[in-house]
């Protein structure tokens, strides 16, 4: 068996394992919560138990998977597009844009006041919309400052500048309206607590076309790994395909951020974890990173709910600790083998 076939088999095995893990974690996620397994046991006889499992636990567990899949996909695209293993989905300023959008929405909707100006569902919808609009607007601003998508370095620098400036504006908003601080902090730490079936449907509706487009253009990312000039010499319409991939990156990130807040490390770690198992082309890397991101966030969400039940940990903190810790271990291991050093 050649090494290429071995890598392909490892990729396939990883795909199977991640799919199985998804199923197991989905069941586990439906069992974890303040009422524990009791709700699952009384599913057929108790309307409240049905409501808890069907309307709260299942959508948030599935929602965690979908948000993680979107972030894993976005991470794989970002790392391929920028040819940088440290690139993450938030590189184009979408995180700061989303946070600023939420901060402004909180102020405008009077969220921190004793009696909010709008109904809670409208407030939630407003925050989700503001996060999405903020993330997309930040990416558009980055693209404008970088004068398009042709120059990788310019794009990276513009993303950093937009991230810093919008982050500062978000902090300024918090200082001027300290009553929004707690809600904004919850958004920044990330949570799947408000994900319902409609959010799941929305994320699935975005994930599917994003995956298809990213997979269809994955050979561009393979070509770009040889450098932009070489990719262009191979007859690839680099600028147009890169623009399409940036749109997918922005859309996937903004959709995930709008529903679950700023969950860190999933987008960065998922592609690395895939590569640690199988060295593969971007076609498989994109699909596997998406699966890996879904599994990571679903596992983190289940842990966040189960570790200190009935208390809940912010899921973003867990992904940062677990993802960061695993990446450090991976770096240590690769360093011993003479890579990443």
């Amino acid at each position: 068996m050649t090494e290429t076939t071995r890598q392909q088999r490892r990729a396939l095995a990883l795909g199977v394992v991640l799919s199985l893990l998804t199923t197991v974690l989905l069941l586990l996620g439906a069992s974890v919560g303040s009422t524990g397994l009791e709700s699952l046991r009384q599913l057929g006889s108790d309307a409240l138990a049905w409501q808890i499992v069907w309307e709260i636990r299942l959508p948030r567990t599935l929602g965690a998977w979908l948000a993680g899949a979107l972030l894993g996909l976005a991470g794989a695209i970002a790392q391929g597009l920028f040819r940088n293993p440290l690139a993450d989905p938030y590189l184009l300023g979408s995180a700061s844009g989303a946070a600023l959008g939420v901060a402004l929405a909180l102020v405008l909707l009077g969220a921190g006041a004793a009696a909010p100006a709008v109904a809670p569902w409208l407030l939630q919808l407003g925050l989700t919309g503001a996060a999405f609009v903020g993330a997309v607007a930040a990416v558009l601003l980055t693209l404008t400052l970088a004068r398009g998508v042709q120059h990788t370095l310019r794009l990276l620098l513009a993303g950093v500048v937009v991230g810093v400036v919008l982050g500062a504006l978000g902090s300024l908003t918090m200082q001027l309206a300290p009553e929004v601080m707690q809600t904004l902090q919850a958004f920044i730490l990330g949570s799947t607590g408000f994900v319902g079936w409609s959010a799941c449907a929305l994320m699935a509706a975005v994930l599917l076309p994003c995956l298809v487009v990213a997979w269809a253009y994955s050979h561009v990312l393979d070509g770009l790994s040889l450098g932009e000039a070489t990719a262009a010499s191979l007859g690839l319409p680099v600028a147009a395909m890169r623009a399409a991939l940036v749109v997918v990156l922005a859309l996937a990130t903004a959709t995930a951020v709008a529903q679950t807040g700023l969950i860190g490390f999933v987008g960065l770690a998922a592609p690395h974890l895939v590569r640690a198992v199988s060295k593969t082309t971007h076609g498989r890397l994109i699909l596997l990173s998406s699966l890996m991101g879904g599994v990571l966030l679903m596992a983190a969400d289940t842990l966040a709910r189960g570790l200190l039940a009935p208390q809940e940990l912010p899921v973003g903190v867990l992904t940062a600790v677990l993802g960061g810790g695993y990446l450090l271990w991976l770096m240590h291991r690769q360093g011993q083998r003479g890579r990443w050093s």
Partner: protein, 255 residues
Amino acid sequence: MSRVALQAQAVHARLGQVEVLHGIDLAFTAGRWSCIVGPNGAGKSTLLKVLAQLLPHEGSVTLLGQPMATLERRLRARQLAWLGQGEVAGDDLTVFDVVMLGRLPHQRWLAPPSAADLAAVEQALRATQAWDWRGRTLGQLSGGERQRVLLARALAVQAQVLLMDEPLANLDPPHQADWLRLVRELVAAGKTVVSVLHELSLALQADELVIMAHGNVRYQGASGEAATHRALEQVFEQRIAIHTLAGQYLALPRL
């Protein structure tokens, strides 16, 4: 009459605000190996990029009699292969996958590799003696081994015209000799090879030299002619001398 494979007419190019090519007129004969040489900053790599349509420029470039600006992108990529200087490469791709990228201009959108693609990749990998590492990732190879894989990637295109910028970088002398043999075989098969080399003794093995300085072509002629050697010594301000040893030309610095 010999056919022209690649021709530049009145080519001007800029890097940022600085014009680095000042009206280049040049023709490369089909089925020959031409080598572009000159001091640092002469514009050799820029010229190669312009010839490959990888840099915006003024003036026209024709490939096998067709204006390149009007050639369909994939058709152009099938007819002209380019190997860049210090080409970066994804450490996580296997050697086989990297060389298969050379077949992209031949492959239909999302189609799996054909038998012809697989045969071309194997042929290129065997020609550069990299077949045995086809399953290894680029991150597991030395600089010279990588260079052979990247050369295989360019060969896998099976283009009529090959442009190579410093293809001998990181290669040890035996593999430099292999490269020279490979180029001879390509030329014998009717391909046109244009390379940039700063190793003058190796460049003197080419059929002809294009000698550049300060963004201009100073001389173009057969590498065995005395006039070419004089032009080469002149462009390097007489700080090199060309000698003959065992039927080969050697360019050595004057000490």
